[in-house]
Symmetry: none
Subunit: 424 residues, 2 copies
């Protein structure tokens, strides 16, 4: 690039910054979007929060409105994050099985078949008497351990969740998720034999039935169940499985975008998705995925990580937790603490494109996800500044963008001067 040359017009060409590809830091405040809260005088948690750092990023940068997947979609964190990262969930989301398993911190690889599972109670005739084994509260981790073994070259992994909940992952060759559940979904019915719904799924069904028979025996013989029976409790003597889903084989993120990528996430499911696309997961001491998370530690870890990586996605779960709790004050306060924790973000804007948004809205008044769109901001040196001054669901309508989550990576690539030219 020429520097300070004299132009034909006789004027001196100004020196300019040599454009190099920038890094990208995508900050996802989980469940960020809100609806008006009576407790906050009709404001959203974000509108009510003292958020000088977020506002400064908007004032000196660009913003807009972002719809998860597309307008009106009420998404989960799984589908939203896939979409935000440029993996169309309509193509790649294969049901809750693999994503619930990731949510329990299990490793799920492309091709694995995964299930949601319950520890249940079955009588001697194979009839389910309690789908939740008396809402068992402890020891399921030991049971899960006992149920992790191999059959006919297929590895089975079980991990316990909250109470009676668990997940099962099958890993091996020629697996397919077109099979029925063993869970009859109602007490009083017999445990079902797993049946293939496709010729090619016969092996999967066969090996799974074999596994479940062996698992039944291990559960019957397990000392925890002997103890429970002695105590007059329902034994957890059956692993009821449902919702088979095969983890998609996704093009690794690094290959798709030519960037070395990492994630920082307090939520196992998001870590799982990021690992599924080949990202490294960076552990942060003090990050809990809850309201008490050490946001400052997360941002400091992020800045360090960006020294070694081109792309970093960081999920902060606290906003979603407060939304599900229906607590607008807690949500506002979480945003205030997140904002305070990002006070030094200005120091990376010279060579990094920072984007802040959410994966979906979790309005406190709803205590669940909604399909309301989210504010999104982009900031970096040299990019356009638009009219918006504040970071919230309404002010960001003054901005440049009205996009879907599937557009975000493209906008980030172009703002970081990484987009390939389409045409000449």
């Amino acid at each position: 690039m020429n520097r300070g040359n004299t132009l034909k017009s006789g004027r001196k060409e100004p020196e300019r910054v040599i454009l190099t590809m920038k890094k990208i830091f995508l900050i996802v405040l989980d469940g960020l979007g809100d609806r008006p809260n009576v407790e906050l005088q009709g404001r959203t948690a974000l509108q009510a929060a003292y958020r000088p750092n977020l506002n400064r990023l908007v004032k000196d940068g660009q913003c807009g409105i972002m719809h998860p997947v597309s307008p009106g979609y009420r998404t989960g964190s799984d589908t939203s994050h896939l979409s935000l990262l440029g993996y169309d969930p309509e193509k790649f989301y294969t049901g809750r099985g693999p994503f619930e398993a990731m949510g329990l911190g299990m490793t799920v690889l492309g091709g694995d078949v995964a299930f949601r599972a319950n520890f249940g109670t079955v009588d001697t005739n194979g009839v389910v008497t309690d789908r939740r084994a008396g809402r068992i509260t402890s020891g399921t981790d030991k049971l899960a351990e006992a149920l992790s073994f191999s059959v006919d070259g297929v590895d089975f992994f079980v991990r316990a969740g909250v109470e009676h909940r668990a997940a099962l992952v099958m890993r091996g060759k020629d697996l397919m998720d077109r099979i029925t559940d063993s869970d009859p979904h109602e007490p009083g019915l017999r445990v079902q034999e797993v049946k293939p719904l496709d010729e090619k799924a016969k092996f999967t069904a066969d090996v799974l039935n074999k596994y479940l028979a062996l698992a039944r025996k291990k559960l019957a013989d397990h000392p925890l169940n002997a103890k429970r029976i002695k105590e007059g409790k329902e034994p957890a003597n059956e692993l009821l499985i449902r919702g088979a889903g095969q983890a998609p084989s996704l093009t690794p993120f690094s290959e798709l975008y030519g960037m070395k990528a990492a994630c920082i996430s307090g939520i196992p499911m998001i870590t799982g998705i990021c690992r599924l696309i080949g990202m490294n997961s960076i552990a942060v001491e003090g990050a809990t995925g809850r309201l008490d998370s050490d946001f400052r530690a997360k941002f400091e870890a992020a800045y360090r990580t960006l020294n070694d990586y081109d792309f970093l996605i960081m999920n902060i779960k606290a906003t979603d937790v407060a939304g599900h709790d229906g607590d607008p004050i807690a949500k506002r306060d979480a945003i205030q603490r997140i904002d305070a924790a990002m006070k030094d973000i200005g120091k990376i804007l010279q060579d990094t494109v920072v984007c802040v948004t959410g994966d979906h809205s979790t309005p406190c008044a709803m205590k669940d996800h909604s399909g309301d769109p989210l504010p999104i901001l982009f900031n970096s040196s040299g990019i356009r500044k638009d009219r918006a001054k504040l970071f919230d669901e309404i002010s960001c309508t003054y901005g440049t963008y009205n996009i879907n989550s599937g557009d975000v990576m493209k906008v980030l690539l172009q703002l970081s001067d990484r987009a390939e030219k389409y045409g000449a």
Copy 2:
């Protein structure tokens, strides 16, 4: 239509203008979009320009933000113009070959197979010693002429570009672009035989190999090369071809939209695209496709053309040239001169919908295309006026639209009262 009837309310129904279909004038300021420039106190070239006529069109009309193809796409002029005219480049863009050929002013018809080409130097063993024939600067037009002939019913056309560059167009029956390059892409390697990548491309590969052998002989015997060898220069004794692309067979514009259409363009590639869809190209004396173009002459020619046509697209290249030069002052000044040249545009607004936008952004700070969106304005008598007052990348976010380039023709058809009703 009823005129002056008495309504049930007793009021007299006002007389109304009978709606007639309007004409459409689409003005594409090439590479219009910009990013903040230090030299312009952080403004874009458009923000910094004195542009009373463009501003008046916004103030009395509608505007918005337009993303080439879709948000984040960093497009070329070829893909952008196809999209703006309603031809989805994802379907119809067949690689650079045909568009580079059009860029050299060659006629390219649907079904033609076109290539980017170099005049190179090859030794007696067929090994490429210089892919650029010593960066030959003159005489290649004579060589191109000698290489334009027919073989087995297929017509070959060669046109010289800048220095060693050229393009080759094949026209005939049963051609197909699924073939390999003859260019080995590295010096020190032999010229490659062209091979079919598809059974149906065998004829194309065969006739092309035959042509290249004949072309080799013509170049070896050409007096220009004898002269170059005598002068100790590298002979241009091989036409190295690459990037075969088959020009798409596009539905003619007139058929697609029911409008008689013309283009005014200083850039051969855009003229080529417009011709490919059956538009007439209107030559304008003094229009150069450069910064010194006679913009007044272009607008005067445009108004005259609109007497005879329903649709006119006019491309002004100067803004893009200044962007590629990295010269924000020149870009601002070009916009000022374009604005001044359109001082009489008000006179056509009664029966014409005027639209001003760009095909892509060419930020001066980047000296290349970016994926930043563009301002777009629409004006005509009787249409809504929205909140925006100024024509630039930021002010137009006050407007009505946040659209993709593929939406523009639809908006134009509806504003010109030409859109067919979808439903009843």
